[in-house]
Amino acid sequence: MLDQNAFDLRKYISRNPQSVAVWIALIVLIAFGVLRYENFGGAYNISSFLNYNAMFIAISLGMCFVILTGGIDLSVGSVAAFTSVIAAYLSPYGIEVAMPLAILSGVAFGLFNAVCIVYLHIPPFIATLATMLGAKGGSLVISGAQTIAVDWGSNFTQLGMEKAFGLVPWTIVIVGILIVGLWIVLEMTSLGRTVLAVGGGEDATVMMGLKVNRAKIFVYALSGGCAGLAGVFLASGFGAGQPLEGVGWELSAIASVVVGGTLLTGGLGSIPATVAGALLLGLVFNILNFENGKGWISFSAYWQMVIRGAFLFAVILFQTRVMNRQSKVELAR
């Protein structure tokens, strides 16, 4: 698409088998839902589905950048819980104060991760695991382990309920802007390309004279910021700061990213496919809800985790197969 050559669909498919697969799966699932359930395609379901999944899309986007460098961020869930509390405390000052400051507090956690990883050479999963604990402890301390109600008098709650221009909920607008912005950053800027190069081979990237540290600091700060935004959505959507929320979010985010075809080792992946992965995972649960509603089966909420894990497993199997095939093709040349 970005090539001066006309967009070559066949080439795209052969180079991105998994991205294509996830789009197809998404379309099939939507078609299935629309045909099977009465209200599935209704404006209410679509809007509430997107509204609810906005926060998961946000953290998946940050996670995507981190994984592209070959790293991992396990702290996003706790950071989102922390920032939801911050946002709730700041809600009386209005959304224009609460949102930026909450996001900034998320960025601060991200920068802490970055310092540990880039300068102290602590492996990413240990550093972010520690931050996960720290943020969890922090949010429990500042909230006294209670949910913190937002100020209903301010415009803070409008974020999740009011619609921009009377059409689309603000959360979806914001996430839409984030998706497009990050897509451009990844595809069209040196910083984005350096992120990809780092994941493809850190030593080589250093040798090429690129700013490796800057790219790594950026991705962790971004991931923290995205988690901060998710925290704002959480607080405004549920009307309260939720210090106990966020458990297992990092896994949803990782699963979304991986389902979207991003290589776990970094260097290869895409923003739209990550969004598709997040939507796909969300849709599976949406459909389960509808299916339960039909009364034929009864899936408890606990199945969610099992299915999420099974999904991750299937994708990993798929990725290893694709990788093996690709490396064989490479050798055969």
Binding site: D3, Q4, R193, L196, A197, G201, G209, L210, L331
Partner: protein, 506 residues
């Protein structure tokens, strides 16, 4: 004219072991300057200091007439030094265009990368090398030769004052080498200097103006290429008179010529992949067979095929007359084969472990007694080998990483001797060890062979092959292409055999 680059008195130590001692290098503007030396002579270290990847302990570097203190590849790139490293340093997952333009992408609107322009520029740069490929495809989907040329194209496109090429031709064929030489000449014509590192001495006479010779971390000579001969260069690298080269006794490998008729290993048309397509040879008892060839000719892959590391896709191996198809190294070890790998650090030693534990690693299955390791037996065996091979270690429980390279290599050799193998495959057994240890290792190999065993020897040191091997199988591009038989092999004959298949650059 003032030199473009002047390095002098460069010292560098790694963990207390000197890698460079008083190394020096001077390059004039618009000059193609060769840097040669044996493996471990310090060429790569010197280059990495120049490009800021390593920090020097001592010495001065003047670049463009002023002292330079480059501390990262990025800074050196900005200063005008472009480098093509020996190991490919590109990102195979990313597109060809990205690999060429990263770091100086064309921009529009200030921040956004102008991809059409980037692709166009990449195509233009590559066309100088006669390459017409889809630049949007991942680099890794192309052959090593193309990747190598892309690396060179990247360096050349950077408007550098100095381009460093470390073994640029190691994976190129004749026509590609010609293209490269054309580019080097273009660079020279436009006033850019080139530092050219190569094992292929004939190439130097084609394109270089001057040559600097390194040996044991020191600069031992610098002269105009026109005033020298190939034999002079080899003599300089080895540290001997040119007349000495022809004479014998450079190694401890020479035997008395006794061999046995019994064939222990027969390899027929074995292939394991693109890097090894057709390898055949026979190995008798009491014999050293050498594998000659250049970097990337398939020697290491040949060794790996016999040892069960790479799967055989074609051909067959007979071990003492019986079909042999090892699925993994442990099969080969049980069948009486040992493989001393080329890369001691990556594939040989377990650095945390002691000399004792490293020495018995291949022997573990036979050390089991009552469900545990028979420590008494282990200690006795290790004690014995330390004494027999003269391994210098303070005690057998000293971590192996604290030993010198030569002593580490002896431990690894002992690891295989301890399994009492019939066949030892030795991949560069004396690389990176000092002269004394080198001779000791050679005599260990010789006495192993004299006991009636067989050795397949891979060595880049010509004198080891020439003196030690009963026969030399010459490899080129994954194939065994010819065989030389002793007595009668000279370094000249070997060089000729290699050069013949290299594509006659002479």
């Amino acid at each position: 004219m003032a030199p473009l680059l002047a390095m002098s008195g460069i010292e560098k130590h790694f963990a207390g072991i000197p890698a460079l001692q008083g190394a020096a290098l001077e390059i004039a503007p618009g000059e193609v300057h060769a840097l040669i030396g044996q493996n471990g002579a310090g060429k790569s270290t010197l280059i990495k200091i120049l490009t800021g990847l390593y920090r020097r302990d001592e010495g001065t570097i003047d670049f463009l007439g002023s002292p330079s203190h480059l501390t990262s590849p990025r800074e050196s790139q900005i200063a005008g030094i472009a480098t093509i490293y020996q190991e490919l340093n590109l990102v195979p997952l990313r597109s060809v265009s990205e690999n060429v333009v990263m770091g100086q992408e064309p921009k529009k609107l200030g921040y956004l990368i102008d991809w059409p322009e980037a692709h166009r520029r990449t195509r233009e740069i590559l066309s100088r090398f006669g390459i017409e490929i889809d630049v949007t495809a991942p680099l890794g989907s192309y052959s090593t030769a193309i990747q190598q040329l892309v690396a060179i194209a990247r360096a050349v496109s950077m408007d550098a004052k100095l381009v460093i090429m470390d073994e640029p031709t190691s994976s190129l064929d004749t026509s590609e080498v010609e293209i490269l030489f054309g580019v080097v000449k273009d660079l020279k014509a436009s006033g850019v200097s080139v530092l050219y590192v190569s094992h292929f001495l004939d190439e130097l006479f084609q394109i270089c103006d001057r040559v600097t010779i390194m040996r044991d971390g020191q600069t031992v000579g610098c002269q105009d290429i026109a005033d020298t001969t190939k034999l002079d260069l080899i003599a300089g690298m080895l540290g001997r008179n040119a007349s000495e080269i022809a004479s014998e006794g450079l190694t401890e490998l020479a035997g008395d010529g006794t061999t046995y008729d019994e064939i222990v290993l027969q390899v027929d048309n074995v292939a394991t992949g693109p890097r090894l397509t057709d390898f055949s040879m026979t190995l008798h008892r009491g014999e050293i067979v050498g594998l000659g060839g250049l970097l990337g000719s398939g020697r290491t892959e040949a060794a790996r095929s016999i040892f069960g590391v790479d799967h055989i896709t074609n051909g067959s191996i007979k071990l003492k007359g019986a079909e042999f198809n090892p699925a993994e190294p442990s099969d080969a070890i049980r069948a009486g084969i040992g493989l001393l790998t080329e890369d001691r650090k990556e594939e040989g030693i377990v650095p945390h472990m002691s000399v004792r534990e490293n020495l018995t690693l291949a022997l573990l299955p036979s050390m089991r007694k009552n469900g545990q390791i028979d420590l008494e037996k282990e200690r006795a065996l290790v004690e014995d080998f330390i004494r027999k091979l003269g391994i210098k270690t303070s005690h057998m429980d000293q971590p192996i990483r604290e030993l010198s390279g030569g002593n580490q290599q002896k431990v690894l050799l002992a690891r295989w001797l301890a399994t009492k193998p019939d066949i030892l495959i030795l991949d560069e057994p004396t690389r990176g060890v000092d002269v004394g240890a080198k001779r000791e290792i050679q005599s260990i190999i010789r006495s192993f062979v004299d006991e009636g065993h067989a050795v397949l020897l891979i060595s880049s040191e010509f004198e080891e092959l020439v003196e030690g091997a009963n026969r030399i199988v010459v490899m080129h591009e994954g194939k065994a292409v010819s065989e030389l038989t002793n007595p009668g092999i000279t370094e000249n004959a070997l060089v000729k055999a290699l050069a013949h298949h290299e594509g006659a650059t002479t």
